[in-house]
Every structure is written in structure tokens, then in C-alpha cells.
Amino acid sequence: MRELEKIYNRIVQRVNINLRELNFDVTPFADQLIPPDQMTKFYAFYGITPDHPLDLHFHHSALAGSYFLGRCRVSNSLLYKSDIRGDELKREKQIFRFENFEIVLATDEMISIENSALVKTLVHNFSHDPETVEKFFIKDTLAMDYSNIHGAPSGGCFLGPFATVDLTTVRDCAIGCYSYVQAGEISHMNIAPGTIWVNSPGNFNFLYTYPEQPLAQYVSLSPEYVPWGILFDFIEEHKDAFQRVFDFVNLDAIESIPNTASLDHFAVVLPRTKIEDNVLVAQRAYIENSTLGRGANAQENCFIINSHLEGLNVTAHGAKIVNANMGRGIFTGFNSFLFGKPESRLTVGKGSIIMPHTIIDINEPLTVPEDHLVWGLVRNGNELAENSIPLEELTKVKSSFSRGRLHFEGKGDLFVKTFQDRIHHILEANGAFYEDGKNAGHAQRNQNLSLNTIQPFHFGEKKGMYPDIQIRP
């Protein structure tokens, strides 16, 4: 047996051991998840920038098509087309505040991936766990296609396709496909597919669960088949466009981008696209025939097609916006799928918040009024009425409300404020407010990024594996 398969089997066993209490067996999902032949086809690459430490250590791992930035350790792991973005990690001597604690970092924070398999997974942000401030760990974890591990140390976990764990320490949990969890700390939970859960204990608790059958049309996972659904089909249809950017290490720079904006080398930008000041387009983003107004951003695995984004729009990791007019300051959460049609466009009013993992799939024009919160599955006006609320009305909720499949308990004003503060922070971090040399963020700093590639063994027992490499200045 080749080294690649040995290590893969070991990872699967480790994950299963951690999930034994849930009686959750990842073996059928892991089978064929990473075809060994694919592991030699793609090089890995890493960024060098003056703004983040260059400190990479790869040990006994395969890294095909994956990207690394900042301080990362990868050991006994398989990564396939994953993005390990360490550009928001905490730095030495920085103070991390948690409740009444002020924790001073002894060293620069590091992303540590051990005994894990990540497929087309995004790892970003930093550890929010006060018990592990210097190490954002991912251990004994299997993450499937288009999952996001965002500021979420994870041990002994399974993430189904399009699952997101956000600002949460996750131990021994199975997160179903298209589920989004932001809950501080969870353990030994089996989260059903299509569960959207945002919990801040003592403050608010938001829970929406997708209806099983309609969700299955978009994302499905079963032990018998490879994952399928409209979301996979959508990505597959646009796959070829990425071939060009990954085939060449040094592409010609695309012109007509303002000096204050950043277009990643590994993003696809197709004609009739207009990019204004302070815009950030991250790697693996796809932009076609669209306008990104001042300070808008498109993060990893985003698709923005035939759409107009007014400005200061956050399009979070994996969100897709098609045939839509998006007003100013709209947040579109992780992995949301806003799918208007040429003859039935989606219009979203300014200041609205599209919750993570929202699906709006319409065959008639639809308008989300300004300053609304939208969640769940919306296919027409009736479903929009059931799955949205004016932010002003939500701020008046003092104890609880439920609507359709949504359960909300806690203080509505805190929920809205927390989201708005976070949106502001994301814009700030991305350099949306850059002016006259001040307030620089990723959009400006990434312009100083250069890329290097590393290659796997193409022969022998170690075929597909990468040599042990330590990269430091």
C-alpha cells in the first residue's frame, strides 16, 4: 500500500475513534473522497508577504492544490485544494480579551493541522478559544468539499460538504452538510444537515433547520453516492475557468484594477467586470460580468455573476450571487446561494443581512427590502415573508420569537449589533475603508504578495506525498 493510502486510512480511523460515541462512521464518505491519482496533479503554493510571518512546516503530508499563508504546521495530513489562510492569526505580545481575561500571546499564533484530511476546505481567521490562543488546531478531522473552518479549532470532527464551523471550538462532532454552527464551544454533537445555529449563551440563540427534501436538491450526502446537488452542479459548470489560473504560475497582471484594490492571482475575473477602489477579490473567487463597488469584497470560493454590488458589500467565503442587484453594505453569509435568473433578478435593499447558508432560488423577480435579516430557503415572496424580518423589528425582540422553521430566543438588539459589528470588522480587515494611506487591510497588503510553488513526489511509495519541508525567511 502506498504511503498516501496508509496515511488516509489512519486519518479515517482517528476520526471514527473520536466519533464513536455518536455512532458516526465516516468511512463511506471518505471512500473516493480524494482519488490518489489527483494528489500528483496539482502543485501546492504559498504566499510571501512582509505583513505576515513566513513560517511553514510540512511533515509527512500531501498538499495537492492547496495554498498556505502565514504560520502553519501540517503533519500526517492530506490536503486537497484547500486554502490555509493565516493572515488573521494573532501575533506575539498581542492581547486577546476573553470575558474578564486579558491574555498576552507568548508567541505568534499558528495553524496546526494534524492527522486530518481537508478537501476544498477554507481555514481562516484565528482561534477564539481562550484555552488555546497560540494554536488554531485542526486535529483528527475530516472536512469535505467546500467546508469552512473559520476561527474554529476542531478536534475529532467530521464536516460534511458545504458545512461551516465559525468562531467555535468543536470537539468530537459531526456537522451535517450545509450546516452552519457558531456557538462558542460544542462537543459530542451530531448536527443534522441544513442546521443553521448561532448561539451566544445568555445573549441570543438562533436556530433554523432546512426542510429535508428541498435541501437535498441543493446538497446531498449519502453513504452510497458521491455528494451531489445543484450547488455541486453549479461549481462544476464553472470549473474550467479555473484551469487557466492554476496552469500558470505567472499570469499576466489584469489591468484596469485600481491601485487600492486587490485581485488575487488565483481568482477568475471574466469580461465586463468593473472593480472599484478598496475591493478585495480572494483566491478561487469567480467574478463575471459584474460590478464590485468601492470597498466590496469577494472571499474564497465566491461566485459573483451578472450582478451589481453597490459597495461595502461583504460576500463571505463560498457565497454565490447570480443575477442580483445588491445595495450598499449588504452582508451575504458563508456559502449562501443567491440565485436570480436573467428574467427574474433578485434585488436586495441596502443594509440587509443574508444569514450564512441562505438559499434564495427564484423564478420570478424578488425584492428583499432594505435593512432586513433573511435566512433559510426562499423561493418566492411567501417564503421570503416567512424567512425574513426587518432589523428594526428584530431589535425589539426581548425574549423570543419563532417563525416558520426559525427559533429565536434572547435579545434581538444584541443579535443585530453583534452581526453589524462583525460586518464592520470584516470590511475594516479587508481594507474597505482605506483612504489616503490609512486603514489599509487585505486589499492593499495583498498587493505585496508573491507566490512560490512546491511539488509532490511523482514516483515510488511516496507518490503524491510532499517532502518534509520547513520554510522560513
Binding site: N199, N205, S400, S402, H407, E409
Partner: protein
């Protein structure tokens, strides 16, 4: 109290209302009602009926709550509530949610009662649980501890492995109360 034993306060099975396995819900409810209306040596009514197997051994009991649970429709929302419980909602919220779901379901109807009338007692009886037994020669102190720690309404009294009677909480309380009166005097 020190010299008082469980067997001094228990009601022998022969004096207790019983039904056998295979009894229908209707007959069990009627037997329970009859038992509660009947005169007993104690001023307290029988709160439950015992279920005997074909050898006459006690295999379960049926109280009012148990009977009502059997009569209540199997609400579809119970699973939903159990699932939501995982997600850190307060008990207060869950109570409100349960009430909301229940109000959306059909209330008890004649058709439903007819449908469940033939339900067999073994489908809804409460089977004896560990900690629900006490030996006939056990002390009342032991019995009190088991009633309190297990939140039981009664205990099954055993002679070796066979259940021979019932020790009801009401009778134990009456005995304790009597003792306190004596001390006060």
C-alpha cells in the same frame, strides 16, 4: 419507627387491584377507576393497579399518569422538541414551543379514543425499575430513602424474589406523621 418494618405498612397483593397481561386499555382504566372508588382499610385510595403475568407475578403497574400517556395522541412534535433541546434553548422556551405545537394538533376525539381502546396493558404499563423494590423485612428508614431518592409514589415489597405487596407513600407518610405527633405529645 425503629421497630416498624415494611411488612407492617404494606398492602398485600391480594388486597390490591390487579389486571393481567392482555387486558385492554378500556378495562384497565375501568379497573383503576373502580379501585380508586372502592373502600379500603386505609383512607387513601389506590393510586395504581398492578399488572400480573399468567403466573400471578407482578410485572408492571398502571397509574393515572400512565393511563393518560396511553390515551394522549402520539404527537409528531415530540421528536422535534427533543431535537431542538440539543441547541441550548431554555426550558421556558421549550414549554412555550410544546404548547404551541400541541395547540396546532387535534384534541382528543371520539374516533381516537375508539382507536386506542383495544391497546393492551403491556404496551403502556410502567415496568418495575431498579430502586423501586424493598424487602418485606426492611426498615421504614430504608423505604423512606428509596421513595425520596427515586421519587416513587410506592415501592414493590419483595419476599426473596417474589413481589408480595405494595408500600404506598401515603401510608409511610401517615406512619411518620403519627410518630411526630407522639413526640410532640
Amino acid at each position: 419507627m425503629k421497630n416498624c418494618l415494611v411488612k407492617d405498612l404494606m398492602i398485600p397483593i391480594s388486597e390490591y387491584a390487579t389486571v393481567t397481561l392482555g387486558t385492554s386499555l378500556t378495562d384497565a382504566v375501568l379497573a383503576l377507576e373502580k379501585a380508586q372508588n372502592a373502600f379500603t382499610s386505609s383512607k387513601y385510595q389506590h393510586r395504581a393497579i398492578l399488572v400480573l403475568d399468567h403466573d400471578g407475578s407482578v410485572v408492571g403497574k398502571v397509574g393515572q399518569l400512565c393511563a393518560l400517556q396511553a390515551i394522549e395522541p402520539e404527537y409528531n412534535f415530540n421528536d422535534k422538541i427533543e431535537e431542538i433541546k440539543k441547541y441550548n434553548f431554555s426550558e421556558e422556551y421549550l414549554v412555550r414551543l410544546r404548547e404551541r405545537y400541541r395547540s396546532e394538533e387535534t384534541v382528543l376525539e371520539t374516533d381516537h379514543l375508539q382507536d386506542i381502546a383495544e391497546k393492551k396493558v403491556e404496551e403502556f404499563m410502567q415496568k418495575p425499575r431498579p430502586g423501586e423494590f424493598v424487602a418485606e423485612n426492611g426498615t421504614i428508614d430504608t423505604a423512606i430513602h428509596r421513595l425520596v431518592s427515586g421519587r416513587h409514589q410506592s415501592l414493590l415489597v419483595t419476599r426473596q424474589k417474589r413481589i408480595i405487596g405494595i408500600l404506598r407513600m401515603a401510608d409511610v407518610f401517615a406512619a411518620v406523621s403519627h410518630e411526630i405527633h407522639n413526640l410532640a405529645d
